[in-house]
Symmetry: C2
Subunit: 506 residues, 2 copies
């Protein structure tokens, strides 16, 4: 038998970064053996597994916050292989974590201890595009950008668009119910996923792949898997309703002195432009400044920086001046709210402005260790939580004056949907003591604020590992009771993505 | 103690109309006693219950196909009362059927035997309208038309519109995941219901009422209740995302010689008008003729009748000629496909044309006993099933020549979403023998056709009693297995709307 596991790879150490979460490895799970690995290799072939150093990229996330200890990555090519894997794992009590593009922000797709990683990169086939309804059917490992490229050539686009589109996979998008910049126009994946295939522990395949637009036969189980973050089963295929590609897009970026002015522009845009409104996004001055400086982007307003920015995009299928005229009319009527505005004059300018907005997350990660909060809040709380968090840090005796000076607090996000991304960033990744003190203060403060404001502690990123202990801040005891019952139905041994979402479901 | 139940009201007879379904009353259910009724009366007050003759309208449906034997209607006013009712019913094993406006078509909201009827007509309050996202929060008993009227005054509309809107209730719409004429524009209730409150057997309240647009904290349980037809619990409140009311609507009705010509117009409309397309509906010549004659409507084409008709509606918020021009352009480019067309010149004409389409179902029910099938099918099967059903009947030795002549077979529906309503109608309601022979032939033929064509036996009406035995024609064994498991989680004693959707779930 081949030796895959070195003797030194013991699993006794709970990694430092999760110490405050008090997670213990579930002792009912088996520990992977060479015999197990041989069995998986004979199932998937030598290209179907990764061991040793090749596993490492799958143990960590791109924000450098989550680090697992998996010894094995499985790369199935078919639903049947996923089914066989989940039958073996369930039989042997081997825990497993499905991982898409690994672009999540809440530790949902990394192993915590020695869970096997279920990787979908070899399940990346587009199966069909149904022109009569605009429905694409594909495997879970398709990269979102690849789906956009394929659809654009046919005059369609994916209803979902987000900064990580070059790496994230549609299966992961579905598992986390990702939102993104076009949510205001095209709604959620619950709205646009018309068919789904998933495999559950024990290996049963739930085949609900269909291109029917309407199907009211029994409970719509696919919605359970959308947003379950791989804790109920693994999504293997999907059918997504795709809107026609708007032929003409017009984008403006405006700057404002106060957040209230941004809100007024938002209200006007929703009211006046609703039928052509494609996106309304927000960023504060810190987000703009950090993105420009970290990524060397050109400032659309030359060297001038402002406290608040809003992006408004409209689109239509019709050439002519009506659509841009309506955008200009909105800007004209909001003249007293806007310090300065630009309207993209061509695709290059449009892409440049979008790039600034979409790369904010990357810019902060480049700057250093970043606490990331993804919150749904009513308009009156949307930016107040950013101001208040900044205030709490500046008044805290926990930090030195220099430390306070180095901590950046920013708010940006999908203001049209009430979804703010609050980021708190310290330069570099080495000061673990400061990282712990910062998260110790801010985590509790932010989640408690959201609970009181009746918001959601996860608007679009999911719960993952980060927010599992805060689930009851947004969901009632009765709701959580039934979530646990449903977890038990699909995953009685708790092997699917353990420690996440409902850590004490067993 | 008051005497509510007469001694003669025994429950030994299974009503004739369900004889072919072979349903037996579940013997684990208790039989209602006067003591039970007194308990409910003391809970809800004298206006909170109906007994005796007042129950009868709740025992039958408007198509005169389903007749139950309930002795008691409960009319709670609050969620707390619903909770108390479902605690009592679960404790005593009293079966109960939630009933909204009782406008369903599949026997989903009528009792089969002596189930208590849970009526929502006193829970009809609009709780809130959130202008920032256009979200209405209301109780389950609100009538759809009332919600439209309330919202229209604020410049919004419900995303759902259907012929029964004057009677149907939003709770029933959600429980059946009703589709309707604007599905192509605004998508399903899974897409538009952002918050839901439901009460499950035992009385637990699942409060997920929220006006947040995004909330990814845990499994999205509300989707289980949307389309569960009251078999998991009773929906008590909801929050629905409402689109702005399009200010200007333009509607055309065209007639065609062949169904293929209708399909070509549909494809052009979807391709050219996608951003302004509000509805694409279809009806055949028999539907037009029957509706005009039964309801004395004026023929938009004077006395001329054609084999096929399509309605195309576009809408925008912008006055001016662009939107109607695009509709006229479409009609111009489809000139060789159209025999004759009319464009509504004002609101009266627009309403008149819509009324014809929306009253087809009523017209057939007025004509007589109607088998109603609500199917999702690919375009190539959409009308073929109508032709084939007509053919099967005409070739069948089961019917006399006179009977064949009296049977009307029609197809109409939401062609933009692939949803055909196949109706088979015989004049009057008295010939029970012919009714049985007809359903005996057509039920099996139609559902088998749909199974082979990989369609859905229920596009938007639900499963109810009518299609419970055909669920496996559209859903796999594994899917049905987990549906039953979920039924068991929420309703372990099977008291919620028994005999429907998953009749052997216990």
């Amino acid at each position: 038998m081949k030796q895959f596991l070195s003797r030194s790879s013991s699993l006794t150490t709970l990694q430092r970064r999760f110490a405050h979460l008090n997670i213990l490895r579930n002792s009912s799970f088996a520990t992977l053996t060479d015999k197990d690995i041989t069995q998986f290799e004979s199932l998937l072939g030598p290209n179907g597994i990764l061991t040793g150093d090749a596993v490492e990229p799958h143990n960590s996330d791109w924000t450098k916050k989550y680090h697992g200890h998996s010894k094995l990555v499985l790369k199935p090519k078919t639903t049947e292989e996923v089914s066989a894997i989940l039958r073996i794992c369930d039989d042997k009590r081997l825990a497993i974590v499905p991982q898409g593009g690994n672009t999540g922000l809440v530790g949902g797709s990394q192993p915590v201890f020695d869970e096997i990683v279920l990787n979908f990169s070899r399940m990346n086939q587009i199966i069909d595009f149904d022109e009569s309804y605009g429905i694409i059917t594909c495997e879970a490992g398709c990269i979102l950008q690849d789906l956009h490229t394929y659809l654009n050539a046919k005059g369609y686009l994916m209803p979902l668009d987000l900064g990580a589109k070059g790496s994230c996979q549609i299966g992961g998008n579905l598992a986390t119910n990702a939102g993104g910049i076009h949510f205001i126009k095209y709604n959620s994946l619950h709205a646009n996923c018309v068919g789904l295939e998933a495999v559950v522990p024990g290996g049963r395949v739930l085949d609900n792949i269909t291109t029917l637009r309407k199907d009211n036969t029994g409970y719509d189980l696919k919605h359970l898997f959308i947003g379950a973050e791989g804790t109920l089963g693994a999504i293997t295929k999907c059918a997504i309703l795709c809107p026609p590609l708007p032929k003409f897009r017009h984008l403006c970026l405006v700057s404002c002195r106060s957040f209230e002015q941004v809100l007024k522009i938002l209200r006007s845009a929703k009211h006046e432009l609703s039928d052509i409104l494609q996106a309304v996004e927000f960023m504060d001055g810190n987000a703009m400044e950090t993105t420009l400086s970290q990524l060397n982007f050109k400032n659309p307003f030359e060297s001038r920086l402002y406290p608040f920015y809003a992006l408004v995009e409209v689109a239509s299928n019709r050439e002519g001046t009506e659509t841009p005229d309506r955008l200009y009319e909105l800007l004209g009527s909001a003249d007293d709210l806007i310090i300065e505005g630009v309207v993209a004059q061509d695709e290059t300018q449009l892409s440049h402005i979008w790039q600034i907005r979409e790369e904010i997350a990357s810019a902060y990660i480049k700057r250093g260790y970043t606490l990331k909060y993804d919150l749904s809040l009513a308009p009156e709380h949307f930016y107040k939580i950013v101001d208040d968090t900044r205030d709490v840090i500046s008044r805290s005796p926990t930090f030195t004056a220099n430390e306070k000076h180095s901590i950046a607090v920013t708010g940006y996000g999908h203001i049209g949907d009430g979804n703010v991304h609050l980021n708190v960033c310290i330069p570099g990744y080495d000061d673990h003591d400061l990282q712990d003190r910062l998260s110790g203060l801010v985590d509790g403060y932010v989640f408690e604020y959201v609970r009181k404001a009746r918001g959601s502690v996860s608007a679009e990123h999911g719960v993952g590992l980060q927010k599992a202990q805060y689930l009851n801040y947004s969901k009632s005891e009765n709701m959580i009771h039934y979530m646990k019952e449903i977890k038990r139905v699909f995953d009685p041994h708790g092997i699917m993505n353990p420690y996440k979402v409902l850590p004490d479901a067993k």
